[in-house]
Symmetry: C2
Subunit: 303 residues, 2 copies
């Protein structure tokens, strides 16, 4: 058996809600944990809760000026230009000062970022890369120990972004609504992730494994009229079918005249974020992924 | 048999979407019908489509300054005070000029107002009053002829408001999302309502009937901490149970500490708009109704 990969223990863990101010599972959990963080604590690390975008939470909108979730690039974090007037640019720089700076030795070791989607994505786990060993082990641990619903993994590499963390993306839940069922799911998954960190810190050996993940390969815009208006809606056969195979020739949109528009790709794809409210303005009807199995080496805490 | 109640034919019918700019079934139908209104036309009346709150539609928000749906009172329609700066006050006055003025002889005869809710209300029909004879006959006709889903009737009398019309309130649908299934349902129900008007205008006798409706009796706020923050969420047993009986002692909320909060009313109620996103700011977790059966006299067009 190959020797495990060794990583340092995690001492400082951050849990953030309200990165998007109208994604309410994380907003309500963060508000609750800010009043009483006791359930997040374990013996081997310190967990800190914060509300990422408090002004957006107050107004119950995704963001005030720009999408905070796209602000954690080196360029923006170091920006002193005209961008610096935008609330989310300031807030990203503040968060980076408190929990970073990125790449520095006092930076937080791990981040849970809590999101919801209007898409039927269940209890989706989002990681930056399949090569993020500790997050991939955490995902595998959650898949084994949180058995209320499947927890598919979405690998979503935004150029220029780095993170040692896992984002939870639970849906479907409307913006501005908190559902008790999804709140309980998110809470249990965070607890499961914290349990994993505790075991890792205590020296548990996590064996090698193979794991399936859905990797971003592209985005599909809505069909449009020449004036730019959307001319067709997500096809009823595709609605709510996140993570299910979409084959060339399957219907993806339906016009208001009743015509079907078919998927013209060459290969099977696995759509996610189908009919996500926040992606209309990003010109994205759904994200296309490919299913990929990777081998992950064993993991243990550094001695 | 008692003689029917006689009412004048309807010559001018208005269909409006986007009264709330992020309720997308009506927004998409209105946009489509503004391009091609042919499917709304019948032989005996003229149907006009309009977008109630185009600026809110453009920004995909419920409203810009104030909720347009609360602006059609005599006070506001005649306001020339400081209110007049608010976009929705101006827009309500414009709409009243074009389609009214309310109570005048050139006013439109009937209005369909297209809404969505994040609550599980199915294909709900909203009328001002059980005494609105023509709307009640239309609802009965829709219940008989649109059989894809039940169409419960909600009677929602806002003091100071008048309307000869029916509002459609279809859900659940997240704000900012258009689902093909709800779009098709709304479209079919509007068509069914227009067919009813056509039959009425042609002199069809609609017999007397008894009909069940859910009448507003009160509103329930969320439990709150002393600082005003919401302290509990809709109980999982109540979520999605719109129009189902809620008995004294049934759980209605769940705190984040896991405690249940029970319904303390004296009588069975039928909650609607359970967990509607737009009602958090209105301090309304759900609306309480009572089920009531009324007798409606026969109806025929005036000779």
């Amino acid at each position: 058996m190959a020797s495990p990969h060794y990583l340092p223990p995690l001492r400082q863990v951050a849990v953030c809600g309200g990165t998007h101010g109208n994604e309410m599972s994380g907003v309500y959990l963060a508000k609750h944990w800010l009043r009483d963080p006791s359930e997040l604590q374990r013996s081997t690390f310190h967990a800190t809760v914060f509300m990422s975008n408090p002004r957006a939470v107050e107004k119950c909108v995704r963001y005030i000026g720009r999408d905070l979730n796209r602000m954690f690039t080196a360029d923006i974090l170091n920006s002193k230009g005209s961008d610096a007037d935008v609330y989310e640019v300031q807030r990203a720089q503040e968060i980076n000062q408190i929990f970073g700076p990125k790449g520095s030795c006092q930076a937080y070791d791990f981040m849970f970022d809590l999101h919801n989607t209007t898409a039927n994505m269940g209890s989706c786990l989002i990681v930056k890369s399949e090569h993020s060993l500790l997050p991939m082990h955490m995902c595998s641990y959650i898949q084994k120990h949180y058995t209320v619903s499947p927890c598919p993994i979405f690998v979503y590499l935004l150029p220029g972004e780095e993170s040692n963390g896992v984002a939870l993306e639970l849906g479907p839940q409307p913006q501005g609504v908190v559902r008790a069922d999804l709140l309980a799911q998110m809470r249990s998954i965070v607890a499961c992730g914290l349990d994993f960190i505790e075991l890792f810190n205590k020296g548990t050996l996590f064996p090698a494994f193979e794991i399936e993940a859905y990797k971003l390969v592209g985005r599909m815009d809505y069909p449009r009229y020449p004036d730019g208006e959307i001319s067709a809606v997500i096809h009823p056969n595709l609605q709510d079918k996140d993570f299910q195979p979409l084959k060339p020739g399957d219907p993806i949109f339906q016009t208001l005249s009743g015509d079907d528009i078919l998927y013209e790709g060459d290969d099977i794809t696995y759509p996610v974020f189908i009919n996500e409210a926040a992606y209309y303005e990003k010109k994205c009807a759904f994200i296309m992924t490919e299913k990929h199995t990777s081998s992950q080496p064993a993991l243990q805490r550094e001695l």
